[in-house]
Structure formats: C-alpha cells, structure tokens
Amino acid sequence: MAKRILIIGGGIGGTMTANHLVTKLYPEVSSKNVEIVMLSNSPWHYYKPAFMYVAFNKFFKDELRRPQQSLLRPEIKFIVDEVEEFDFKAGKVRCASGKQVAYDYLVISTGCIPSPERIEGLKEAGDHFYQYQPARNLAKKLMTIEKGRIFVTVNFPKTPNVPHQCGIAPIETTLMLDDLLRKRGVRDNVEIVYTYPTVSQLLRNCLFMQKDTCEVLPTIFEQRNIKYERGFSLASVDPGKKIATSEEGKEADFDILMATPPIRAVDAVLNSGISQAENNEGWLPTNHETMEVYGLENVFVMGDTVDLPISKAGGSCHSQSPVIVNNIASLIRLGHLFDQYDGRVVAIAQMGLEDGMPLWYDYESEVQPTPPNKLGGLMRKGFNRGVYWSVARGLV
C-alpha cells in the first residue's frame, strides 16, 4: 500500500511543494510506494502578487494565471474539490463533493482570505488589491481620480505578532500610486496619506513592521510629497460621509480608501478546532523550525496559514517548502525529521512603477533597505512575467 502525501491548496506553496516532493522522493514515487495528491478548489493557479499590478492596469487576468495541471509534474494526482472538514484523528479530509480523501502525511497550504467585512464599513467604502475583482475596482478609481485624497491604511491580524498579507505591499502600492498619479498629471491635485497602526507586531508607533525600514521611510515619503501618519489603527468607516475612524480616536476623510484589509484562514481551517489564534482568525499553531502543526502527527503547514511572525507571502513559502519536503522525506526514509526553517523570506520589492529592491530577512536579521533602482525593477518584472512560473514548477 503506497503512502499518500496529501497537499491541500494549489497556491504557490502547495504547488512548489508537490513538485519538489516528486523529485525528492522519486525512487518511492516511481516504484508506486509513495503517492502525491493535491486538492485545490480551483483548476487555475493565480499569481497572487500580480493582483497588486491589476490595480495599476499592468496585468490582464490571463497573464497572471495558468491551468494548475500545467504546473504540476504528471506523477501528481490533481483533484479539483474544496476541503470542508479535516478529520485529523482518522487521517482524512472531507470535500464539498462528499468525497473523502485519506492521507499518511498532510501539507496544509490553503492561504488566507481578505476579510474587509471584519471592520465596520470597510467592505462598502474601502478598496484593496489582494484579489482580482477588488483590484479591478480599485484600478477604475485610480485611473479616473482628478483631485482629492487617497488614504492608505494597514490592518494587522489581532493575533499577537502575526503580520498582515505581504508585509511590503502597502509601501509598494503607495509608491506606485505616486508614480501613477504623476504620469497622469494629477499628482498636484491628489493628496496621498500613508498611515500605519499603533501596534505592528512587536513594534509600536512605526511606519513598517521592521525598524530599519521604518527609519528610512520618512525620507522616501518626503521626497515624493507623500504624507504619513503613525498610530492610525482603523476601527470603522462611514461609507456615506467617507470618513475613516481609528481606534486612537482620530478621524480622516478620503476620496479613495486603499486598505490592507483584515485576513483570516479558510473556512475548513477555521472550523478545524486546532487554531488558538485570536479573533477567530484561524492561524494554525506552527513549530517555527519543523513547520509541523503542534499537537498533530505528520501534519505540516506553510505560507499564510501559519501563526509565525513571518511575512504571509510567496517569498516565505519558497524557503519553507524545502524544509517540509526534507522533513516528509526523512520521516518516510528515516523515521524522524531532520530539517529546520530559519525564518528566511526572499523577495524583490516593487518600489514605484519602475524601480525594485531585492530584500531578505530571517528570524535573526531584519531587512536591510538598499537604494531601489531600475535593475531591481527589471528583476521584479522578469520574475512577475516568467521566473515565477519556474518557481511554481519547482525549478528555481
């Protein structure tokens, strides 16, 4: 009887892990002693960071997605179905179709869901760029605004020391916004206000979740005439009056409210009963080195669903995935785990429409900001358009 490795989620984490498992365990896979199965709720794979570019009219839908099957090695059995319930005791999951899928080893890579409805009035009056349709809606507004005020807010999960989705995205989009409005010739008539909440993971009253980057931001913003404000934790929005109110008691009017919204885990993870996260956010208790879910045997978690203080982004998955692959391989072959995640995150930040800045950090060291430049921008654009798909295929 073949041992089955079940991967839930066809995002970047699940896809690269499934492909890497085939190559790592090829002797077992080719002799039919190990079977790799992926369950995803969509036949499509979306390059989620490109939703940000959709808001700036830089990507069409078909350019940021590929058929999931085309990104998977043929040895992987791919099933399109939504997981509705985990039965960890019995080692199986139940899907929306009623089908049950058993596993010996489980990898949960189900991402997170933007949930603006968790802040009163935000869904009605706010915009974001973390999904395709909201990004399209935002694009229409950004392309037509002639004068007024664009207010940027960032909302962290209530679970202590857990970041919002893609840590650098609010800065990236604020700088892209400045460039876009300059290109359109309306920048002098549109005020941009970047705000950050009082509590951002372990920092207080900063402009970013890491101190070194926080310290260089005022200079960058002042050079571009972008206003910035610390200590604005969005509490509610009045859609009629277009006023955002903060937990600190401030009020701000806006014409466009570009928000990084609250996030949560998917329903099946929320309902699993395993999470200890606050505010019903659903992050799974994760061993920060082995990437196992605490309290469960042979169950691993990665990407947005973890409760680690690590960016919820593909750049985290890229470093977590090989650790999980090695640990599953060593469990099968040696009976114990042998790899540890060091918290490494690698990315190229899009700093405005043209420039880019490669960055990396881990549990021990923070991002060291370097001057953004066009070469960095070309690297990011090359990644967006081509290299990403090689990463998904497990080639990079």
Binding site: E75, R385, G386, L395
Partner: protein
C-alpha cells in the same frame, strides 16, 4: 614610469586600510597594471557601458516579450521531459510488453485517447505547415 614602483604607503588613499588590506590592494594593482597598460581593461568598461545601455533601453514591453518566450521554452521542455520520464518509468514497470489486444484495450482510457488525439492534431499541424509546395518565382 615609476608608478608601479611607488609603494602604497607613499600615497594617501590607503591610509585607512589595515596592513593586510594594503597588501591586498598592492597585489590587486599589480594585477590590474598590465591590463591598464595594454588597454584591455577598457573592454570591461565598454562592456559595463553596454550593460548599462541595455538596462536603460529595456522597458516593460520588452520584459514581457522576453519572459513569455522564456516561460514557453522552459514550460515546454519541462513538460516534455516529465512526460517522457513518466512514460519510461511506466514501461519499465511492465513485466512483459502488452499484446496488440492489450494496446487496443489501453485506448479505453480517456486520457490515452486524449493523448492520441493530441498527437494526431500535432501531425495535422505539421502537415499544414508543409502543405503549400514551394515553387521557383
């Protein structure tokens, strides 16, 4: 020309360097000196200039087209390699080659029929590309 005989200590530039750093710099200058004298280092500067020009000339549209070609090439090779490896493995697991009837029975599998249809359409495409005879003007 006495520049090569001038010691590092006689200049102001490396005063901040450690003795080991000064020695390293001396060695580096000794290596670079013939390249400068022969004009060969100019080629490196020329190359850097060309690279800088390429970076300046490259725009979003060029990146998009280059990356499309990259992805199609890599994706195509990757797919072909994967399928060949999997097919080879399946064949190696057979104790005996299938009989003719066994081969016909394999076509009951819809995926096999899809694959055969793909090959037939591929043959059609090749045929279409070669369907117009070339004659001399």
């Amino acid at each position: 020309m006495n520049t090569t005989s001038t010691t590092i200590e006689e200049t102001d530039i490396p005063s901040a360097l450690s003795p080991a750093g000064q020695q390293g710099l001396e060695e580096l200058i000794a290596k670079i000196d013939p390249l400068l004298a022969g004009g060969r280092l100019n080629r490196i500067v020329d190359l850097m200039s060309v690279v800088a020009d390429v970076v300046d000339m490259t725009d979003d549209y060029m990146v998009e087209k280059l990356c499309k070609g990259y992805e199609e090439a890599i994706g195509g090779l990757w797919n072909a390699g994967n399928l060949a490896r999997m097919a080879s493995n399946e064949v190696s697991l057979l104790e005996e080659p299938p009989t003719v009837w066994g081969l016909i029975k394999m076509t009951k599998d819809p995926d096999v029929r899809r694959g055969l249809t793909f090959l037939l359409f591929l043959a059609k495409g090749i045929g279409q590309q070669n369907s117009i005879p070339l004659t001399e003007d």
